[in-house]
Symmetry: C2
Subunit: 197 residues, 2 copies
């Protein structure tokens, strides 16, 4: 069964897919009408041919700029810095942010020997310079883990002479979370950052 | 992001894939080199064009007959009846069965209103007749659940005049299982079916 083995190998490369699920995917392909698989093929090719990086913020974009950067109602004086395009999608779903983004495409990870070279930092500085003082705030929205924090500290040092208002997203208890099960560092931040009701 | 949305919709149709994983798959497609996606496309098409049912046993086959039926060293006097092609693959991995298979492509499910019409039963009877007495044993290897049992009982009634030796796979405790956590019906069967050591 060469064709089956080949497609299973391909599916195994998909993120989070084990041997059993890859097999189920292959059987799904067998059972699905050929026309629908052709549509899948077209969709795959469309993604490869049309999706690239936004030349402004390095989010994924169909065309030169992404949908956020194309939207003229967005406030260009506030840039939210995230590590990956998925984060843009997640923050957009929250519908509370009306600024623009900058995707770093990675984080600094001293443990894995990853420094700042791969990140879109030069591009961020250039972008701030080009805006000529119009960027009032930079929100650092990297993950609250070791790499994200390291990146946030690095960014703050690097950019503090370029932008006056550098902020970090709030730490605290997530909605639906259980205080009983929350780690003490998060709880400490949640208490320190308490707001008047 | 029309292309991305489209591919996510396609991935959502894959068995066991939720919205989050479909999104991760889409981002995987974006990140993966175009040449590799083209290989995936070719593999998908190869499956659709070359994989069909074996005309003997209705297992998946590349070509007219499956690899089991093509193997002349297999004992054609023993037919193991399973409900789906995955079961053939699972039993083949056990490497203890040297007979051939018959895939029913489904089970009888009175609860879901599924009767025997969709199953490859007529084909099985025809196959037994064509063998002209050469089929000595029929092992019923449907799942040990309500539908599988119903199907096994139905098969036994239907075929008892056609084949003398109809058997059912053994019930018992699975290796690695915990007797403490085993249900009482399984334990009952495990005790009843005990063998001399």
């Amino acid at each position: 069964m060469k064709a089956l083995e080949k497609i299973i190998t391909h599916f195994r490369r998909f993120p989070g897919v084990g041997p059993k699920q890859a097999e189920r995917f292959a059987l799904y392909v067998i059972k699905t009408p050929g026309s629908q698989i052709e549509e899948l093929v077209e969709a795959l090719r469309a993604v490869k041919s049309s999706v690239a990086y936004c030349r402004e913020c390095y989010n994924y974009a169909e065309g030169d700029t992404c949908s956020v950067c194309e939207d003229h109602s967005r406030d260009r004086s506030v840039i939210c810095v995230v590590s990956q395009p998925q984060d843009v999608a997640a923050i957009e779903k929250a519908k509370t942010f009306n600024g623009v983004y900058h995707v770093l495409h990675g984080v600094i990870s001293p443990m894995d020997g990853v420094n700042s070279t791969g990140l879109k930092l030069k591009e961020l500085i250039e972008r701030i310079h080009k805006a000529d003082g119009a960027v009032a705030e930079l929100i650092i929205a990297t993950n609250p883990d070791t790499e994200g924090e390291t990146t946030a500290i690095y960014l703050t040092r690097l950019l503090k002479d370029h932008v006056t208002g550098i902020t970090r997203i709030a730490y605290g208890v997530p909605l639906g979370g259980d205080i009983d099960y929350m780690d003490e560092v998060t709880l400490g931040y949640a208490l320190k950052g308490r707001t008047k009701v």
